[in-house]
């Protein structure tokens, strides 16, 4: 990422020239002070709200005491990590988090690709625009509202879905109290919420495909499906791969907000995930060190995920994030 800019190159050349070396720092400062001043608020933000918490992770090795503060609290080494690994909740939580993330990846990832390809095949511009405008909408609705809608529509007393099932003589089913249904409900609601918005990246990639490729395929007598398979898909494959890598990195970082809003103790068996657990033990029960340790543990696993996905992709497809 750190690419030397033109000016840095010039400075390096100046370094080699003894006559121009004098006052180099001063000149850099003078040249940059206005830009650095502009950047200062942003820098302060990152230092205070992004980097200070990273250093605050030292509490995972300490017995954080509210009154002593971070630095005076006692060191406890890996106590909290051991505590988490030995906790009987560890495997169920890990499994819930992984499975929910995996379901979302398997079912949620291809959905916008399919929608984007279908949209791309639409000849009528107005119809295409209409479908797009509508499908983006739920992305802008808050998680609180989406969770409310899901829970109310699935309610066994007067919920939309149960009314519908009722007309077929089924139910009523208490959807939100069935541990076995949570993952499906969550993933479906995620797809509903974000499918349209996620097509944007693929639609952008689609505009970059050379129309001549389609003409050539026409000449060869290719059908619609064949053109999609041999021209469209290869054309957007870099975008697919990049999104896939990013999504694999996010398998463990499923949105806290929505799961938190949708879960209830009756379905903790499948609906309790690491981040909601961190909130419960860390924020609600005030066990800061323990909560932060779990968070860091998962963060490191996520990093390993994304790094591996990127490594494999670079080897296999020559597309990668870095």
């Amino acid at each position: 990422m750190a690419q030397p800019s033109a000016v840095q190159d010039n400075l390096r050349k100046e370094l080699k020239n003894p006559y121009r070396r004098k006052g180099r720092r001063l000149r850099t400062w003078h040249h940059n002070k206005a830009l650095w001043l502009l950047f200062l608020p942003c820098l302060l933000y990152y230092l205070i709200f992004r980097y200070a918490p990273m250093f605050g992770l030292v509490i995972t090795f300490k017995d954080y005491n509210l009154f002593k503060g971070i630095w005076a609290s006692d060191w406890v080494g890996l106590k909290y990590y051991r505590m988490f690994l030995e906790n009987p909740d560890f495997w169920p939580l890990m499994k819930n988090t992984l499975l929910l993330g995996l379901y979302k990846l398997v079912f949620g990832f291809p959905a916008p690709i399919i929608l984007a390809i279908l949209l791309n095949e639409v000849r009528k511009a107005t119809f295409k625009k209409f479908v797009q405008t509508v499908s983006y909408l739920p992305h802008f609705i808050s998680n609180v509202i989406v969770a409310s809608m899901v829970i109310m529509f699935l309610s066994p007393t007067g919920g939309l879905i149960n009314n519908l099932l009722g007309t077929f003589g089924i139910g009523p089913i208490n959807f939100m109290n069935e541990p076995g249904l949570f993952r499906g409900i969550y993933v479906l609601s995620e797809i509903w919420q974000h499918i349209g918005w996620e097509t944007i990246i693929y639609l952008a990639a689609l505009t970059a495909i050379d129309p001549q490729l389609y003409e050539a395929a026409d000449m060869d007598g290719a059908s619609r499906m064949r053109k999609i398979w041999h021209v469209t898909l290869p054309g957007i494959s870099p975008a697919i791969v990049i999104t896939l890598i990013l999504n694999i990195g996010k398998v463990l970082e499923i949105g806290f907000e929505k799961v938190f809003l949708m879960q209830n103790p009756a379905i903790y068996d499948t609906a309790d995930i690491i981040s909601t657990y961190v909130y419960r033990v860390g924020m609600e029960q005030g066990n800061f060190s323990y909560g932060a340790s779990i968070d860091l543990f998962m963060g490191i696993i996520s990093l390993i995920f994304i790094y591996s996905a990127n490594y494999i992709s670079r080897r296999v497809s020559e597309t990668s994030l870095w």
Binding site: A2, S5, N32, C42, P53, L57, L137, M152, M283, D295
Partner: protein
């Protein structure tokens, strides 16, 4: 005889796309219909997407509740103030980063990109916010999320696209870097400022996790928290006096739907007009990300 334009592909894909439209819009129409229908019809569950026994009683109840107005006011304050701060910090930072001649640009960029992959997490961030005495203040709502790295990179991309010659002409006229930013870059980038402002405003409007973590006093709660307490935690039901409607017997469902509609209406009404800006912003992010 088949007409020349007929193809199964078109039929299947049109049906599928219309299906997407129906599944997206129907829930909103249903909620609207239920909230506008009479109690009898709601209890009988016979409302689909058209109100039966039209009345606005539920809306009178919701809008007559002072708690809704406090929450609305709070949300507006957080959204406006938060968007302003975010916009200033993000645009100045992005402009500096877009200048190839800024020393340490690479280092700063790396510093920022790292945060996309690794963070301190919920609890250490909370401890930092608390140590700054921002818990239960407006600042706790608007500062911890002031910059979104995604938006910062998006803006940097916008600014990099502005021809360098314009900056140089500004310099010849005697402007310094800050002057160039204020007088040349900002006026030229109104559209991108609008786009990023929208992203921030929606984020702030919908934000639930910050108030959950950083606010304690109910008087400071924004709409999303109130909504969660009323609709999800169910205090609107069973004549609970903390809920809307006091101890009147009302149909819980229509009341909840009315509350949802009232709090979503701003986005639903503004959305068709601003949607193209979102898409433009996201497109640029997707292509050059």
């Amino acid at each position: 005889m088949r007409s020349p334009k007929f193809s199964w592909f078109n039929v299947v894909s049109t049906v599928f796309l219309l299906g997407v439209v129906v599944i997206t819009l129907y829930p909103f129409l249903h909620m609207l219909a239920v909230s506008l229908s009479s109690d009898v019809n709601v209890i009988k569950n016979n409302i689909s997407f058209w109100p039966k026994g039209f009345n606005v009683n539920m809306y009178e109840l919701v809008l007559g509740d002072p708690k809704i107005w406090t929450a609305y006011k709070n949300t507006l304050i957080y959204t406006v103030l938060g968007t302003l701060i975010s916009l200033v910090v993000t645009s100045t930072g992005a402009y500096a980063l877009s200048r190839r001649d800024m020393a340490l640009r690479g280092t700063f960029t790396l510093l920022i990109v790292i945060t996309m992959f690794f963070s301190g997490g919920m609890i250490p961030t909370f401890l930092v916010v608390r140590s700054l005495d921002m818990v239960d203040t407006v600042w706790g709502m608007v500062l911890p999320g002031a910059v979104s790295t995604w938006n910062l990179i998006l803006m940097r991309t916008f600014f990099s696209g502005i021809p360098k010659e314009l900056e140089e002409s500004g310099r010849i006229d005697g402007l310094n870097d800050i002057g160039i930013f204020m007088r040349i870059i900002v006026p030229l980038s109104k559209a991108s400022f609008a786009t990023i402002a929208l992203f921030y405003a929606v984020g702030m409007w919908n934000n639930f996790i910050y108030p959950l973590l950083y606010l304690r006093t109910p008087d400071l709660f924004p709409l999303q928290v109130l909504l969660r307490n009323l609709v999800l935690a169910g205090s609107a039901s069973s004549g609970d006096v903390t809920g809307i409607g006091g101890d009147n017997q009302v149909v819980e469902e229509s009341l909840k739907y009315a509350t949802i509609m009232v709090s979503t209406l701003p986005i639903l009404t503004v959305y068709p007009f601003v949607q193209k800006y979102f898409v433009k912003g996201a497109m640029i992010g997707a292509v050059k990300g």
